[in-house]
Amino acid sequence: MELRIRNVSKRYPNGVQALTDVTLTIPIGMYGLLGPNGAGKSSLMRTLATLQEPDEGSITLGEIDVLRQKDELRKTLGYLPQEFGLYPNVSAEDLLSHFAALEGITRRRLRKSTVESLLRQVNLWDVRKKRLGGYSGGMRQRFGIAVALLGNPKLLIVDEPTAGLDPVERVRFLNLLSALGEQSVVILSTHIVEDVSELCTRMAVIDRGRILLEAEPLEAVAALRGRIWRKVVDKTELPEVEAKYAVISTRLLAGRTVVHVYSLATPGPGFDSVAADLEDVYFSIMTGHFGAQTEASAVVA
């Protein structure tokens, strides 16, 4: 079973072109969707989650036509939106039980045990009687995860899930996801490169509605081997360096600036070769030096 997205395009009524000819094949496992804010990640996620429809293209999950058989998909769908609210004057236990009923868990006993196990899993069991209105951002996020995990989803879509989580929670959550990724398609959209590099077996980079790269993170990193160079410069030198070289990122370090440059050969004196990481991949793509238009085919192959 895999999720196949073919030539999906979407333009909003206000004229924004959200997705342009997106084609992706997503197998079982964790899949990272990386891109800056406003790249179209959420549009794609919402489309996958049956909340909106593309103008063109097709999406299938195994036998299910995602665009036509919405109810079928929803039976195996888990979705954690980037932003959501909860009924403030209801307890976590009650609301999760309500969602369980909506998910088709009709037997009361089962519903109870499911709710219990999920609440324990997201570590909300101790506060299950508390009104959701009193929950913190992290608690709410974990509650949303519990909702998404209800009903054993075959397709789990999580949109920027780690945003509100503290480091411990984040680790827990990502572990949970990767466990789920053993049997399901799990799509994780994020703008945090680490999330992807730590967990995802495959990834895509999206910007301005286009897929710029679809690859396995390790391969992508490997493809950059020997092409990233580093130099520490003064702030005053920066414009000159930027004009001269293909700078993909700059970073302040103790008052000076560390510059990463993309180059097939050594760019010149003062530059050291560095071991590329996924971040460098991302920045190379974003600055247009690497990816779908340039050498993606070579990397993916």
């Binding site: 909340l51 009924y87 998910e103 868990i105 959701l132 009193g134 951002g137 054993n152 949970l176 466990a179």
Partner: protein, 1223 residues
């Protein structure tokens, strides 16, 4: 400057919203429609200009009420938008000050609302200028009228509304509370006007309480004459000024309080501290730490293991759908039930039900809390009919928007819940709320009954009324509200549209749509009676409800197909989704529903329009106009008069069928031979077999207008008589669109034969009466009632006023008792039918009703008169009282006025609510509603039903013996004299204090709001004059002239006219007889009371008392007096006087009871102020001029005054009861 920027920005934000424009376009259109339809009609029937300032003010206030919804949106948004959009943190950290922020926002909201008030007037303006009105309606068009209405009502109301709503949103940081406060303001208007002022009679309080001033306008509307309404502007003084002042002050205070309380800080923190909830709660950094430690401490659970649990537990089948629907419904229900608005509603309902005993009193007398009364109570149209619909609209919006408002919609929309289940769940949730509300009403109702000691609970009837009848209506409306909200997909616009639709539904009739097939959820009406049950209304009711339920299903399908799910809400996406959602199964279901609509609609149409004639109000008016046009020329043509009637009435109660075979004896009482007889046949029945006992050629037969004429050969000579045989058949087929004719019912038949039997001559009562309507149909204007001076009217004996000998046989099913006027001559059985024959001993007025039901009869006797109380088995509460009242009345009236001509007197019950009675000769009809009076016992309790029965018995003299000419002042001779007579019976039976209590109760309905402009009593026809002013005038005269003299005058009047000669009496005859017994010194009083519309205004301004030795006291009063003559246009004229007034001095009242007067004598009092000194033998407690309020005084509260402690040598005060009278 910053204020200006906030103001500018806010205004721009609002102007960019679609809803704003919707309000600004919708409201004027609505006002235009309302003004064109309702108010033009009001002016037409009321006889004043549509440009009347009062009307303009009324429309402005109605506009203020309609604007509440928009105001809620504006003010709520202005005050709470930042909290709701979570912009507050950004906003509150700018250098913008709190006062600048609040001022800017508030002024922007105020500007919009003030502009909306202008839009209201624009709508009215367009309505008045866009169509040409008949000249009598369009008065002088003055711009100032608009300006005054705007400045007095439109603008202040906009301020009050904006301030209250803004403050509410500011305090709660939620815009939705403004909707609730709007409802409260609206409720306050209705409660002030309908409950406090109209029902409870506290007009002053009601006028001040009313936030919009509608109560004041209602008061003026009742007080002013048409002429005054046309031109007078609304005086901004007195109560109105106080009202405006109080509300402006109050709303400013509320606003100020809210502004002070409003911290310019983060909403979430403040809200959390106070334990309030806000829609979406967001975390702040501090609380995060605590959670992290929890996470750290928790032992990690192997995720895969835990997840394995949930693998195959979801199932999807029909049961799943049901359970999902149930879950949504339950969630929706819980959301409402736990919200404070839900609790408020429950509290309100319980409060209203518990307040029943006070509200349901009539004339200071309690009513039995029957189940029917209690279940109907909250549906009573004038009181609180809009509470449940309003809450339905509100909750429909809340439920449709619940997920989106809480922004949990992305989570719920992606659950595997079918679209249909989502919608069904919401509707069910709302339904569940309504069911619970009804259950609460049931329990509260039973509680009220038990508390009042009424233990006949009739749970079955509760269930049928609350859950069978009312719930169906509520649910139909709930479906509509949800469907509209789903389709409109914009919360405030949704509310607006639903309310609009509700208005259209409710006022469809006045908008010209009368067919129940065209007005959502409507029906021909349903009434329950303990005698009759739901028959015969139930059948048509159910057919119509089935038809509308089918429609509701169609609407639900429509909503299900167009419902928004997911992020895309534009029309194109919704259409695209709709196509996909219309699955073959849904198509079939929709087709079935549409088919049902067609079939049920067709069946109903066949019944209402094919089997029966469908007539709109306009059709009926046209019918009346055409009748007059065709046959008006026979008005006044000499016709023979009905002299004797013989009837055989066959009733078939179970089939609602009846036949009457009748014979009239007609006598030519004119001086001319009559060769053409005009017969008017009734439209409710089919009349056949008209046959004269001499050669008669039919000249004309017009069944549509119920007119036939026959040429007699030979002509009927003066004094000669002729027989007319006829048959009348009542057999309704199918059902009608309007109210079902319930005259023949399985149990509780009541037929007023005048409506069925043929009448002789042109029927003036079929003519259109209203001045406006007559003009509309091009008929000559005529006075509504013939003038007192119209001497021709004195000899014109209209149908119903003839004296006839009656012999009637009524056949009905065995087990029922049939009743008709006269003595029961014979009873016999034929098969399963029982026959009763009644005949009169002496001729009676031709006002005959036939009754048949399973009755219990209480027999009693007064001298040679057999008294029967023929009542429904349940209604035993007042039977003894009725017997006592009838006996006391017969005793009193025969002694004073003359003999009772019959040997029987019955009171017969018939089905129906309301407590009006009708006193036909021999038989007095009373409705079930009258049997529910429950005055309780105890000497101080007013026995109102006793007085009413005495009043009805008095009609056996005043009305049935003395039958006045139908000219102005006629009801003075019937109703006023009947009340005057009843007062005597009450005094004779219960004593003077009880009569004083009755008078006080009657006066409370009379003096508020003082209707002053009127014709003199001798020309009066309105309720207030003939039921209140007339009896009081008679009573005053009795106290001044003496009871025996007044009664002697009445006896003489009766002797002259009581047997129904050719000449019928008028009020002038009454005046003449009274003048005959009045001493010349009091002649002025008689004329003031009857020939002029006179008001006296007297007051005791100061009182002092001093000891005069021998334990006596000298009391000094400063009194002010004034006499005013008011004409029918309302212009008042001061009349100088030197009239007689009672001056009374009263001692201390004993613990229970009233003080006996120490002094009560008539003094001459001049116009203006003067001093009066009297000496009394004991310490005085209170003193007054006209202390018993015998004369008509708009303000009676200042007549009496308490006496301050006496000056002079100290001595032990006399505390004991007064021992003697000064007179």
């Amino acid at each position: 400057m910053r204020t200006w920027e906030v103001f500018r920005f806010e205004t721009n934000v609002q102007l960019r919203r679609a809803a704003t424009w919707l309000f600004f376009i919708g409201l004027p259109l609505l006002m235009m429609q309302l003004a064109t339809v309702a108010y033009v009609e009001k002016a037409r029937t009321g006889g004043f200009y549509v440009t009347a300032p009062l009307l303009m003010a009324e429309m402005t206030v109605i506009g203020s009420i309609l604007s509440l919804l928009a105001a809620a949106a504006f003010a709520g948004d202005a005050a709470a938008r930042d909290a709701e959009t979570r912009l507050s943190p950004l906003l509150f950290t700018t250098p913008l000050g709190k006062s600048a922020f609040l001022a800017g926002r508030f002024l922007a909201a105020l500007l919009l609302n003030a502009a909306l008030a202008v839009a209201v007037q624009l709508g009215v303006f367009l309505a008045l200028t866009s169509r040409t009105l008949e000249p009598s309606l369009s008065g002088p068009f003055r711009f100032a009228t608009f300006a005054e209405a705007y400045l007095t009502f439109g603008l202040p109301n906009a301020f009050v509304t904006t301030a209250c709503l803004f403050a509410a949103a500011l305090l709660t940081r939620r815009s939705v509370t403004t909707f609730l406060v709007s409802v409260v303001l609206f409720a306050l208007v209705v409660v002030s006007w309908q409950l406090v002022a109209t029902r409870l009679g506290f007009w002053q309080l009601g006028q001040v309480m009313d936030p919009f001033g509608l109560t004041t306008l209602s008061n003026l509307s009742l007080t002013w004459t048409p002429a005054a309404k046309s031109v007078r502007s609304i005086p901004l003084d007195g109560t109105l000024l106080m009202n405006r002042f109080v509300w402006l002050l109050l709303s400013t205070a509320v606003l100020g309080f809210a502004a002070v309380r409003f911290g310019f800080t983060l909403a979430a923190a403040g809200a959390a501290q106070r334990g309030r909830r806000s829609r979406v709660v967001h975390a702040d950094a501090s609380s995060e730490a605590g959670v992290a430690t929890v996470v750290a401490r928790a032992a990690p659970i192997a995720p895969a293991l835990a997840l394995g649990h949930t693998t195959t537990i979801s199932r999807f089948n029909v049961r799943t759908r049901l359970s999902q629907t149930g879950a949504i419904a339950w969630e929706a229900f819980r959301g409402v039930a736990l919200s404070w608005s839900g609790l408020l509603l429950v509290a309100l309902l319980i409060f209203l039900v518990l307040s029943w005993p006070t509200l349901m009193e009539d004339m200071g007398t309690a009513m039995l809390p029957t189940t029917e009364q209690l279940t109907r109570y909250l549906g009573s149209p004038e009181l609180i009919w809009m509470i449940i619909p309003l809450f339905t609209v509100y909750y429909a919006g809340e439920l449709v928007w619940r997920e989106r408002d809480a922004r949990v919609n992305d989570l719920t929309d992606t659950t595997p819940v079918p679209d249909g289940a989502q919608l069904a769940g919401r509707v069910l949730g709302l339904g569940l709320i309504l069911v619970v509300l009804q259950a609460i009403r049931l329990l509260a109702g039973i509680f009220v009954q038990a508390r009042l000691g009424y233990y006949n609970f009739e749970v079955g009837l509760y269930l049928r009324m609350l859950f069978g009848v009312q719930l169906v209506d509520y649910l139909l409306f709930a479906v509509l509200a949800v469907v509209v909200h789903v389709l409109v997909n914009q919360k405030y616009a949704g509310h607006l549209v639903v309310l609009l639709v509700y208005g259209l539904m409710r006022f469809a009739g006045s908008l010209g749509v009368e067919h129940n097939l065209a007005v959502y959820a409507s029906d021909p009406g349903l009434a329950y009676s303990d005698m009759r049950g739901f028959d015969p209304y139930l059948g048509p009711f159910l057919w119509f409800k089935a038809y509308w339920s089918a429609w509701a299903f169609v609407l639900l399908v429509l909503a299900g197909v167009f419902a928004v799910r997911g992020r895309e809400q534009d029309v194109r996406s919704r259409l695209r989704n709709a196509r996909r959602r219309l699955t073959p199964r849904l198509r079939v279901a929709a087709a079935v529903a549409v088919g049902l609509v067609g079939m049920l609609g067709g069946f109903i149409f066949y019944n209402t329009n094919v089997l029966n004639a469908y007539r709109t109000t306009a059709d009926q008016d046209a019918w009346r106009a055409e009748y007059e046009r065709r046959y008006g020329r026979y008005k006044g043509v000499p016709q023979p008069m009905l002299n004797a009637t013989t009837l055989r009435v066959e009733l078939h109660p179970a089939d609602r069928r009846a036949e009457v075979h009748g014979t009239y004896q007609l006598v030519n009482r004119t001086a001319w031979p009559i060769d053409t007889i005009h017969v008017a046949t009734a439209t409710l029945v089919s009349t056949s077999g008209l046959r004269f006992n001499r050669a008669a050629t039919p000249l004309l037969r017009d069944d549509e207008y119920g007119h036939r004429s026959f040429k007699l050969a030979p002509a009927l000579q003066p004094g000669d008589s002729v027989r007319l045989d006829f048959e009348v058949r009542f057999a309704p087929t199918g059902f009608v669109n309007g109210a079902t004719d319930a005259s023949v019912a399985a149990n509780g038949t009541y037929i007023e034969l005048r409506d069925w039997l043929p009448s002789i001559g042109y029927q003036t009562n079929r003519e259109l009466g209203g001045v406006g309507a007559r003009r509309q149909y091009g008929l000559a204007t005529r006075p509504a009632v013939r003038a007192l001076a119209d001497t021709a009217a004195r000899t014109n004996v209209a149908a119903g006023r003839e004296r006839i000998a009656l012999d009637v046989v009524v056949g009905t099913v065995a087990g029922q008792l049939a009743v008709a006027p006269g003595g029961l001559r014979r009873t016999w059985n034929e098969g399963a039918r029982t026959y009763y024959q009644y005949a009169t001993d002496v001729p009676i007025r031709n006002d005959v009703a036939i009754y048949s039901a399973k009755y219990i009869v209480r027999d009693a006797q007064w001298k040679n008169v057999a008294i029967q109380i023929v009542h429904h088995p349940r209604d035993t509460t007042n039977v003894d009282r009725m017997v006592r009242s009838v006996q006391a009345s017969l005793e009193y009236f025969t002694t004073r006025f003359g003999p009772y001509p019959h040997r029987q007197l019955r009171m017969v019950e018939y089905p129906g609510r309301g407590n009006s009675l009708h006193s036909a000769p021999v038989n007095i009809a009373f409705r079930e509603g009258f049997a529910l009076f429950n005055p309780g016992s105890g000497a101080t309790r007013l026995d109102f039903p006793f007085a009413v029965v005495a009043h009805e018995v008095a009609h056996q003299w005043w009305g049935n013996q003395l039958t006045p000419a139908s000219v102005e002042g006629a009801p003075l001779l019937t109703e006023s004299l009947a009340w005057y007579s009843a007062m005597g019976v009450v005094e004779a039976t219960y004593g003077a204090p009880h009569l004083a209590a009755l008078l006080a109760e009657m006066r409370s309905a009379y003096l508020v709001p003082g209707l002053r402009a009127d014709v003199p009593l001798v020309r009066a026809t309105d309720w207030l004059s003939v039921y209140r002013r007339g009896p009081f005038a008679m009573y005053a005269l009795r106290e001044y002239v003496g009871a025996s003299l007044v009664d002697q005058a009445l006896r003489t009047l009766l002797a002259k006219y009581g047997t129904g000669g050719r000449e019928q009496p008028t009020a002038l005859d009454l005046h003449r007889e009274l003048r005959g017994v009045t001493p010349d010194s009091l002649a002025y009083l008689l004329d003031d009371l009857f020939l002029v519309n006179t008001f006296w205004d007297v007051a005791t301004e100061a009182v002092s008392a001093e000891r005069a030795g021998d334990g006596r006291y000298r009391v000094t009063l400063d009194v002010r007096a004034r006499k005013v003559a008011v004409d029918s246009t309302g212009s008042e004229e001061d009349v100088s006087m030197n009239d007689f007034f009672e001056i009374g001095v009263y001692g201390r009242a004993p613990e229970h009871g009233q003080a006996t007067p120490l002094y009560l004598r008539r003094h001459r009092v001049r116009s203006g102020t003067q001093r009066i000194t009297v000496t009394v033998p004991e310490a005085p407690a209170s003193v007054g001029i006209d202390p018993r309020t015998l004369l008509i005084d708009p303000n009676t509260s200042d007549n009496r005054r308490d006496v301050p402690p006496a000056a002079g040598p100290r001595s032990v005060d006399v505390l004991g009861a007064p021992q003697g009278r000064a007179r």
